[in-house]
Structure formats: C-alpha cells, structure tokens
C-alpha cells in the first residue's frame, strides 16, 4: 500500500514536531508494511515574506492530488497577526472543504493533568467542530473608522448545509461510541444561529433514535468540562465555540503539546489535514522543547484516515507510552529534545 502525503511543516516549532512525526512515520512504515510518498510544501511565514504568497490555487491543486496533509503549525511574529492564519489555515480548511474539525479530548494513562483527581476513565470525549463557517467567515463591516462613532459589525454565517454535515457526522460518531451527543452553543443569546443548530439537531436526530442528546451553553460547558468531563461523549459545536472548548479540553489532557486534531473532508472532494492543536510557539522554536506528542497523535489520526488502522493504533500506543514516562510535558523539563522523543516513539514502535 502506498499513500501520497503532503507535508506542511510551517513555522516556529512546526518543522521540529513534524520532523519527529516523520521519524515515527518511517518506523510505522517498516513495521506495518506500507509506504508513503511525501511532498514537502513550503507554506508559512518564510514563504510569505519571500514571495508574498499565501495559499494559492496552484498549491490547492497540488494538495488535492494527495491522500492526506500532515500539518505542523503556522504563525510568526514577523507577520501581521491573522494574515497567515486566515490566508493559510482557514483558507485550506475552506478550499479543501474540511467540514469537520475532529478533536478528541482524552487523558492518557500516566500523563499528568492539572485537574485534581481526574482519571483517564473519566476523560474520553470527542469534539466535532464545524470547520468552515460561523464567525470564521471573518466578514463584517465597519463605519466611521478612527472616530468615536466607529461601529464594527461582525457576522457569523450559519448554513443548514454545513451545520447538517457536522451534526450528521457527530451523530454517526456518537452511535459507534457511547451513544450520547451534546450540542454546545449559546442559543439563549445567539438566537438566529441557535434556532438553526437546534432545528438541525432535531431533524438529523430522527435518523438516530438510539443516540441520546442534550444541550449545554458554551459558558456552562467551560464550567463542567474541567470537573465533569465524563458528562460528555461526543460534543458538536460551532466553529468559534469549538475553538474555545478544545483549547480547554487540551488542558485536561495535560496541555496543548498533547492534543491532536483532524480537519476532515467527508465528501471525498478534497484532502483531509491533520495537525497538532498547538501553535507555532515562536518563543521556544529551535530549542527542541516542543512536545511532539500532539503531532504524533495527529499522525495516528492521519493513518487511521488512510485506512492504516493497525499503524494508527501502534503510533498512538507508542506515543502515549512515551508521554507517560516524561517528567514534564513541555520545555527543558521533558528531559529529551523533540527529535529524541520522536526517536523514542519510533523505537518503541519498531520493537512492537
């Protein structure tokens, strides 16, 4: 079996964690008997500053010819905040119709969490984040800019089309998990969007009579998640709330260095992308202080997506085993560099 993957290391610690993940991928290929063709795609701050280019049509077409994208991180203090994020990450999510941002929130055994008394059994949920619209249309208008009369209207656009595909995906996932789906929104205030999400939940729900549903306001979610994550199995939510609650979810897991995500095209008309949820962390770039676990667990998600289920399970097991042995989850205290940890995970995988 051969898979064509595009590798986007990006900025800051992106290239470091991606390199570690590729070392793990090498080991996975030998052990589980498949190969990958890898195309490195130079998107990010350097490329932008040299060529003035963000995501181009040409790059989209190039990526489209691959079976999956492995993404590092993007963002740099040398570029106006938001430009790379919108011009590359968000543009990719939209151009590739990566309808779903799938973010498991799992505490792995042996990994220290800042939440007192939290155990792995109690922390195993998945957030299904709508990934193409909502406030992420990043549209609106301003009048009287630069005067005390300035008004900025920011829009969140929500379509039945996109909400339904996210909700449908979430129901399916809940049906093969613990059969419980929670809508997270703020329907008491965001009335128009709330009506749409609620109607879609009901409509799609008719096809899933065995999935139990409930609803939680996003503010209440942030209160419940740290102390009662066991209340949640699958959580479906809009783009902005998904962004917020999954960063909080990462805290439960031990920090951003551990959390993984998949940006999934579910219609078969684009390429899915797998990325650690941490950013480019320019302050620690180049030191080998980034934890490669998030990147390796994203690699595992990618392998699952490519149909390499055994390899996915192997990479996940090896990564979490190495994680569990770390004295700290990031920084110098990890006691080994990003690349050394990649090699350690690869080694475990090779030994079976």
């Amino acid at each position: 079996r051969r898979h064509a993957i595009a590798v986007l290391p990006g900025d800051g610690v992106g290239p470091e964690v991606t390199r570690a993940a590729l070392t793990v991928l090498d080991a996975a290929e030998s052990r589980f008997d498949f190969t990958t063709g890898r195309t490195e795609v130079p998107l990010g701050a350097d490329h932008y500053l040299e060529r003035g280019e963000l995501l181009t049509e040409g790059t989209v077409e190039q990526l489209r010819a691959h079976d999956a994208i492995l993404f590092g991180a993007i963002g740099s203090p040398r570029v106006t905040p938001g430009v790379l994020e919108r011009g590359i990450i968000l543009a990719l999510r939209r151009a590739m119709e990566q309808a779903i941002n799938l973010r498991p929130v799992r505490l792995y055994p042996g990994v220290p969490t800042p939440i007192a008394g939290l155990t792995p059994e109690r922390c195993d949920l998945v957030v299904v984040r709508e990934n193409t619209e909502g406030a992420y249309v990043a549209q609106g208008s301003s009048v009287h800019v630069g005067t005390p009369a300035q008004v900025a209207v920011q829009e969140s656009v929500n379509t039945w089309y996109a909400v339904e595909r996210a909700v449908d995906f979430a129901y399916r996932l809940a049906a093969v998990r613990r059969g419980r789906l929670t809508l997270c929104h703020k329907t008491n205030v965001l009335v128009e969007a709330g009506k749409l999400w609620t109607a879609v939940m009901e409509s799609v729900g008719e096809r899933f009579p065995d999935v139990e549903t409930d609803y939680v306001h996003v503010d209440a979610m942030c209160m419940h998640l740290p102390v009662s994550p066991e209340r949640f199995d699958v959580v479906v939510t809009d783009n902005l709330f998904g962004d917020i609650v999954t960063d909080l979810g990462a805290v439960l897991q031990g920090g951003l260095g551990v959390a993984a995500s998949g940006n999934l095209n579910i219609a078969g008309n684009g390429t899915s992308m797998f990325e650690p949820i941490h950013g480019s962390a320019p302050d620690i770039a180049g030191r080998g202080w980034a934890n490669p676990a998030g990147a390796c667990l994203s690699l595992a998600m990618m392998l699952g997506h490519l149909g390499e289920g055994e390899a996915a399970a192997g990479v996940e097991a090896a990564t979490t085993a190495v994680l569990a042995g770390l004295p700290a989850l990031a920084g110098e205290g990890m006691g080994a560099s990003t690349q050394e940890l990649g090699e350690r995970i690869a080694g475990l995988l090779a030994d079976g």
Copy 2:
C-alpha cells in the same frame, strides 16, 4: 446612612440565596451602622407566567429610583429557554446602561479548587466584561427557514462608545491594581470587531502610560487561565468572551457557588446590579443546597458600590471564612443549608 435597594430574588435557588444574603445584610447594618430600604420586585418565571410580563418600562422606572439592585437568579424549565434571560437580565443590563460586568476571579484561602496546586496568591484577577453589546445584541436574520437552504446570520455589533467605556474602566482598575491589562479577543478571526477593540486599547492606553498591556486570544486564554492565572491582573473582553471565560474562572474559585459579579452603571444614569454568577439551578431549588457565598460576595460588591467600604470588607471576610470551613462547596455535602450558612456568615459578622 440609608440606601434604597431593590431586591430581585427571581427563580429557582435565586430566592434562597437572596434570603441568605439579606440575613447577612441585616447583620452588616447593625454592625456598621447604616440602614437600607428594600423593595422586593417580583420578576421571573412566576410573574411572567401569571402576567405575561417581562421587564416593563414601569419596572425600569421603579428600579431607577433605587441606589442598587440585588439580584438572585432567573431561568425556569417552565419557560422557553432564552425568554427570561433576554427579557429580564439582558434587558436590565441594557436599560440601566450597566456598561461593565465586573467579575473578580479569586481563590479564597482554604477553599478547595479543582486545579491541582493552585494557591490563592496565584489566583487574583478581575475580568471586565463589556455588558451591553457584541453578540448580545442578539440580532440577525434567517432565510429559507425550515428548508435545507436555511441560512442564519448572527450579528455582533461593537461600538467605539461602549468598547471605550469598558476599556477605560479596565485601565483605571489596572492602574490601582498590579498595573497590568490584558485584552482577550479573537482578533485573528473576528477581524472587524478585533480592529475596533485593538484601536480602542491603543487610544485609551495613551492616557495610562504606566499600565502594561498585552493580548491573548480567547482560546489561548482558556488554556492559560486554569494553569497560569497569575499571568492576569485585569482582563478586558467582549460580552460573549467575558461570559465564557468567567464561567471558567469560577471553576478556579471552587465553582459557580462562589463567584460574584457586579453589573455597573458608570455614567450615573442608571442603577447598578449585583448578582451571583450561578443560574437558577431548578434541579436543586427548594432543598437548601445552594451555596449562598456567590450571593453574599455580590452583596459585598454592592456595599462597596454604595460607599459602605467597611461593611463590604466585613461581609467578604465573613463569607470567605465560612466558605473555608465547608466540607463541600455545594449540595448536601455542605453540611448546612443555604439559610444556615447565611446565618453563620451573619453571626461571624456580628461577632466582629
């Protein structure tokens, strides 16, 4: 000294915690030598279901004649979700020009927190939440409702006027605290609103050269707040983000039962309102299981606002002393009912 206060007990546990807080107020009056005239105002589910009335012009005028409003909680499963919240709480915040929602996030000594290793010294920040606009205008439009073509546009309206008064308040507060102000937003995605908030921060900042400022994305805030609350002194943020991060802040404090808030009119053209940040909790109403601390700490904020600084400090000290002795922070495990706890706090206050 005499102060006219309006009391809005509301629904669910609202009347219970309010009664406890009024018991504490009685003790504060005797000890610190002031009196209050109290008008009980029957807003909430019962009133709405009997009379079909939410916040009326008449009630607004009645409330305007008071020096402060002590608010319990509103919300009931007998009313369509959102109706009471929008028709009473949000309507009041707007009608009374309660421009600022002030939410201290403090871990009090002896109070158990779910965050491992968190100490009171590290957890003392204040969130200044813009309280009248943003997504809370609750406006937008929907087309093709009930069809697969449905689209819902939800608007967030941000004015220089309201953002500036919130930011100015936050700078002033930071100047008398540790001199550090953080803007929490999502400027990389909410571009229009983000530009306005950023411009206001810079403009107002010119008048506060000694206040150090920084910026954090709301998602990153949810990651940092639980593990590094000491990074924050004063945080200023929009209505929706403020709603979210303060519920998370309450977790650090030991739960919603502890957290207090003030909805402040700062222009002198309306009445300020003080409310625990917990909701009406209909599931536990009537059992005496609600913690009155949030209501009592809101009372303390109200007393400070009325110029009764000594009484405010006294109520806060007595409340936190009683809190520190509780075996659990809510429910049967508290070992005493809501009202008994109110009496315990009142007793401490009386003994000085």
